[in-house]
């Protein structure tokens, strides 16, 4: 019954967007109520569908659209878990925003845009074809542009919004190129008679794509999937298109929470997961048995996980630390798809999605806690915070829970061959599984580099997140403000998210088997487990580095056993490199954006236009002609129009002469 209303999952927030945008101020609570109700409605429908289709059903609806494309809905296990997460987390963030945005005069616009943002993300999730997926994906990009630039009168916000749109656009173009290439290849195998679209299905539907992928030239398939992955790199902030994400916190903190947890950045990972059978079908030319595209996904993901974590260590803006954390954690999700995909087939989808959803809970929590802190102290700089624990107990405790989850703290009892289940935070279940899969990949394929990335990044993760926590909540207050705990409308969502950050991990076995079965119809049933029983040290290592990171931060930032400023001077080249974010903003904006594009390419075009085409060719002609016309006009004492008339008459006269010659008339 709920399945019949699946389209409402997207339509409700869209309707809320339109109504709130145009009626905003006239609506109850300054426009907040309608979007919240709409997203709650989407959540309820999603939940209803989940209970209807669990454990092995799915929803498919489709209508023809234009040309040979369709518009449709596909809700399979992969989609439904995303739907539940997106609607649930987005709902909590919206409720929190009632408090957080209460004083902003543009509140209706805020809620209208976040409502559309959520709708666009939901559109991505339940698309049944890659074109509709792309369209929703672009609308997600639009909404992020609008929301990052929400305070558009701030130049930095306007610049960050533009950067977000343009950098992700680079990825989007690659994605679009992938769609073009896919379309051409499918048409080619249709034209050669080897493939036909099932009647009632459409060319770019996922089911058609997966069947076609088995017949498409393998090299072409590698190109297609890598171009798709290019889109994912842009959207999910993977190296080298990661730079927009840390700048994206120019918007309200609640927007950051939406972008980093529920919407937008997870879309890239979801794209790879959604088209996983195509990635898995690419040939393995570099490492035998490892599909090329998955290898690229694994390496980019692993590298990004480590690379972003190094920058997280030195940032002083509370939101920027969290932003790099997101980039890093998205790297883990990609790493999972790549490495586990190579050794455990479609199980990789379950493993990666589990971290995606777990991360959504604790990252939303981290951002909302950061928002609560910023709301209270009026600054983003953790150096100006300190000693907040006593004043903001709920925020402090829930943020500590989120940090534990991010650091992956837990006790791997089952992993130690004990007859009990594991106990730990959500991040412990989701991330440690990824690290173990990276090990399994290394063990089976003899390539331990992704594993090394993952382990070192885990240590850094733990260090930077507890550094943040200790600096914000412990020690002496370093500002003049008198902070107080946020109102209930803000703290209650924190508590709910904290529950999920702590306990969602226990759903791990059921989640894995449910979501990994999404592609059984095309890839056959995924085999259970990673194939090998990892040694005890491998099982313990992620937890050891997590605890080690905590202890390091505890020692430095709580006990003050070391004064970092004495060890690392501000002139230290490594420190400078990290603080300047590996000079990515300089290279991206100044060199590529301004120097190469604007100063060189555009200006030389302008030169050609003005000086060569116009200067040498046209103005000479026009100069001569106007002179001639002017002279003639002066003689005839008429204007240009009379000349025009005479030219036209000349034309007609010419015609008559030609006709005469031709023998007519």
């Amino acid at each position: 019954m709920f399945s019949d209303y699946a389209a409402l999952i997207v339509l409700l927030p869209v309707i809320a967007f339109v109504l709130t945008l145009f009626l905003g101020k006239k609506l109850y609570s300054g426009g907040a109520l309608l979007p919240i109700a709409a997203i709650a409605g989407s959540f309820i429908i999603s939940l209803g569908i989940f209970f209807e289709i669990y454990p092995d059903g799915m929803v498919r609806q489709s209508l023809p659209w234009f040309a040979n494309f369709n518009i449709g809905i596909l809700i399979d296990p992969l989609a439904i878990v995303m739907l539940l997460m997106v609607t649930f987390v987005s709902l909590l963030i919206h409720i929190y925003a009632v408090g957080y945005m209460s004083h902003d005069p543009a509140k209706p616009r805020y809620f209208a845009e976040t409502s559309l943002f959520t709708a666009a993300m939901l559109g991505v999730v339940l698309s049944d074809n890659i074109l509709q997926f792309f369209i929703s994906w672009e609308l997600v990009g639009l909404c992020s542009f609008l929301l990052i630039g929400f305070w558009y009168h701030k130049p930095s916000a306007a610049a960050a919004a533009k950067k977000a749109f343009l950098v992700t656009r680079v990825g989007d173009v690659l994605f679009l190129a992938g769609i073009v290439l896919l379309y051409v290849n499918i048409n080619e195998i249709i034209a050669s008679g080897r493939f036909s679209v099932v009647p009632g299905n459409f060319l770019l539907q996922f089911s058609t794509m997966f069947e076609a992928a088995k017949l498409i030239d393998p090299t072409q398939l590698t190109y297609i999937t890598l171009l798709f992955f290019g889109g994912a790199v842009g959207k999910s902030g993977q190296f080298p298109l990661h730079g927009w994400l840390p700048d994206a916190m120019e918007g309200p903190t609640t927007v950051s929470a939406l972008i980093h947890a529920a919407t937008m950045v997870t879309a890239g990972v979801y794209l790879v997961a959604r088209t996983f059978p195509m990635f898995a079908a690419t040939p393995g030319t570099f490492v035998p048995g490892v599909p090329d595209s998955l290898l690229v996904v694994a390496y980019i993901g692993g590298f990004t996980a480590l690379f972003a974590a190094t920058m997280g260590l030195v940032m002083n803006d509370i939101k920027r630390v969290l932003a790099y954390s997101t980039v890093s954690q998205l790297g883990y999700m990609m790493l999972a798809l790549g490495t586990a995909g190579a050794v455990a087939g479609a199980n990789a989808v379950g493993i990666s999605m589990f971290h995606l959803i777990g991360h959504a809970f604790f990252k939303a929590l981290l951002f909302l806690c950061a928002g609560s802190v910023i709301h209270a102290v009026g600054t983003n700089d953790i150096r100006e915070m300190g000693g907040l624990f006593g004043k903001m107990k709920i925020t402090a405790i829930t943020m500590f829970i989120a940090a534990l989850s991010l650091a992956g703290i837990g006790i791997p009892l089952a992993g130690l061959r004990l007859p009990i289940f594991n106990i730990g935070t959500t991040g412990f279940f989701s991330k440690d599984a990824i690290i173990e899969e990276a090990y399994a990949y290394g063990f089976e394929r003899g390539d331990y580099i992704p594993y090394a990335f993952a382990v070192i990044a885990a240590l850094l993760t733990s260090i930077y997140i507890f550094r943040l926590w200790f600096m914000a909540f412990t020690g002496k207050p370093r500002s003049e403000r008198h902070p107080h705990e946020s109102p209930g409308v803000m703290t209650r969502p924190l508590m709910i998210l904290a529950v999920f950050a702590l306990f969602f991990g226990f759903t791990q076995p059921a989640f894995y088997s449910y979501v990994s079965a999404s592609f059984d119809f095309v890839m056959g049933p995924a085999y259970e487990g990673g194939g090998i029983e990892p040694p005890v040290i491998v099982v313990l290592l992620p937890v050891i580095v997590g605890v080690l990171g905590f202890l390091i931060s505890y020692a430095i930032y709580y006990k003050r056993m070391l004064d970092m400023s004495k060890i690392i001077s501000s002139g230290n080249p490594l420190y400078k490199l990290l603080l300047n974010r590996y000079y990515e903003p300089t290279i991206g904006a100044n060199i590529i954006g301004v120097k190469l594009t604007h100063d060189v390419a555009a200006q030389s075009g302008e030169f050609v236009d003005r000086k060569i085409i116009d200067g040498l060719v046209i103005d000479t002609i026009i100069g001569k002609t106007t002179f001639f016309l002017g002279e003639a006009a002066r003689k005839l004492q008429t204007g240009v129009v009379q000349n025009y008339a005479s030219v036209t008459l000349l034309g007609v006269g010419l015609l008559l002469i030609l006709l005469k010659l031709g023998g007519g008339v």
């Binding site: 701030k154 533009k162 680079v170 173009v173 555009a602």
Partner: protein
């Protein structure tokens, strides 16, 4: 036989004459709105009578004119003409509404706008090559006056440049038309200017124009092509456009970009695509078209990036977007060609919003220089809203009409012109770049206090832009009403071209 088309063409012509004779602004603008409104009504009736499943000319009518030369007043529409008729009758009334506040010689101003409507409708519906050419030339005159009377400081230079450029192109096209005409005469021994008859006889032509250099067929083809691509305009024959736009009044710019440029694209579909397979070197011609198309896309994009004047930037964006039309036409695949037709329709709507935005900003802030603006969103929220929508449409945001067109062109052209499509894709990022850069600098950020007190657009200005935005979104979500008729016509149009590919692929 119906008389919708001749009525639709005649009413704005009569309206124009009445408008010229009116004494007050009030009378002139009401006449303009009513007569263009009636044309819109007629085109909507035509749309409802239009049979999408029929691929040929329909709603046709024929009146004898000069029998001795075989010239008739014959009109009709198919999937190429009908959408452009609709576009013209939508854009002109909205332009009249937008220019509701015109004070300088309003009777002439509104009269000339109506004359433009007559001209473009004639071009899009004439089935007689001679009459087609007359309408083609008629369009020039009111635009020349719109620029030279209501234009900016360098209006004389711009007007004369516009005039010379397009007139030379027209004359070359006229020669080619005559050549076609005489050729047909040689064969059939009956004078006949019917466009389809002339095109049908083209394959029978033979011989050299200049021995061993260029054949008669190729010369005719290039002559016609030249006439059309200068109008579009395509690089390198484009430099008249930015100058014309910079100096033209807003209404003139809207008509120029939304309708006059479409005449060039119309010519591509009506004349060039059917002739192409029968020219003596189709491969080279396809390559030529593809190069022109992609060059226009990329060159227009980079030039747009270099502009400081918002309106000039928009002008270059037109060149870039019209490049897609050429590219899609050159690919000769049914859906790439109908995508190119849709791009014409879509660009007409989008560019209207963009030029209107420039007009409102110029009027309110007194400048269009991007660097001198800044933060105007604060005082112009309504304008910001519609302008942002127009800019997003222009950069190809899905959900808006431009995306559908560009997607269809790119995705369907790749099979025949892969290299060119990859190059065109490359431009997309930069297209987004200049649009957002301009919005960020001119509209968002801190308000530039030097601008003093600025006010939002007038309600009639915002309203006409909002209507265009709604249409852009409507056709972006549901393109079928016009796309289906385009595809129906495009499919037989490229049948003769099956198997043709460019030289460089």
């Amino acid at each position: 036989m119906t008389a919708y088309i001749s009525l639709m063409i005649a009413i704005p012509l009569i309206g124009a004459l009445i408008a010229f004779l009116t004494k007050t602004r009030e009378q002139a603008r009401v006449v303009a709105l009513v007569s263009s409104g009636i044309s819109l009504l007629i085109s909507l009736i035509m749309l409802s009578r239009f049979d999408t499943s029929f691929t040929g000319i329909q709603l046709d009518e024929i009146h004898s004119w000069i029998p001795s030369l075989g010239i008739t007043l014959s009109f009709g529409v198919d999937g190429i003409g009908m959408p452009l008729v609709l576009l013209s009758t939508i854009v002109i009334p909205l332009t009249v509404i937008f220019a509701w506040g015109e004070t300088k010689e309003p009777n002439k101003f509104y009269g000339l706008i109506l004359l433009e409507l007559t001209g473009v409708l004639g071009v899009f519906t004439s089935l007689d090559f001679f009459v087609f050419y007359i309408f083609w030339e008629i369009v020039l005159i009111p635009m020349y006056f719109l620029i030279s009377i209501w234009g900016g400081p360098r209006k004389d230079y711009a007007a004369i440049k516009f005039f010379i450029y397009t007139h030379i192109a027209s004359l070359v096209m006229l020669l080619a038309i005559f050549a076609l005409y005489f050729n047909a005469w040689q064969i059939t021994r009956t004078p006949d200017f019917n466009m389809f008859h002339l095109l049908k006889n083209y394959p029978l032509l033979e011989g050299w124009l200049i021995p061993n250099v260029i054949t008669i067929k190729d010369a005719i083809f290039i002559g016609l092509l030249f006439g059309f691509i200068v109008k579009m305009p395509a690089v390198p024959f484009h430099t008249w456009l930015p100058d014309a736009h910079v100096e033209a009044p807003t209404a003139g710019s809207v008509i120029l970009a939304a309708l006059l440029l479409k005449m060039g694209g119309y010519g591509l579909f009506r004349v060039i695509v059917p002739l192409l397979p029968f020219s003596d070197s189709p491969g080279k011609m396809i390559t030529l078209l593809a190069i022109i198309g992609v060059l226009s896309i990329l060159y227009g994009t980079f030039l747009a990036l270099a502009q400081r004047d918002l309106k000039k930037m928009v002008a270059y964006s037109s060149i870039s977007h019209m490049g897609y039309v050429t590219l899609g036409a050159a690919a000769l695949v049914p859906l790439s060609v109908s995508g190119a037709m849709f791009q014409q329709f879509s660009h007409g709507l989008i560019t209207g919003v963009l030029f209107m935005s420039c007009g409102v900003i110029q009027h309110s802030a007194g400048t269009r220089i991007i660097g001198d603006l800044g933060g105007i969103a604060k005082h112009m929220p309504k304008l910001t809203f519609v302008m942002l929508a127009g800019f997003l449409a222009s950069l190809g945001l899905p959900g808006m009409s431009g995306f559908i067109a560009e997607l269809l062109i790119l995705i369907n052209s790749y099979a025949n012109l892969p290299t060119f499509v990859i190059l065109a894709l490359f431009g997309i990022v930069f297209t987004a770049g200049y649009h957002l850069w301009a919005m960020q600098r001119a509209v968002f950020g801190t308000f530039n206090e030097k601008l003093g007190h600025i006010h939002d657009g007038a309600d009639y200005e915002i309203a006409s832009m909002a209507v265009l935005v709604l249409l852009i979104i409507f056709f972006g979500l549901y393109p079928n009403p016009v796309l289906n008729m385009m595809t129906a016509t495009a499919t037989p149009l490229v049948r003769d071209a099956a198997g043709l590919v460019g030289v460089i692929v």
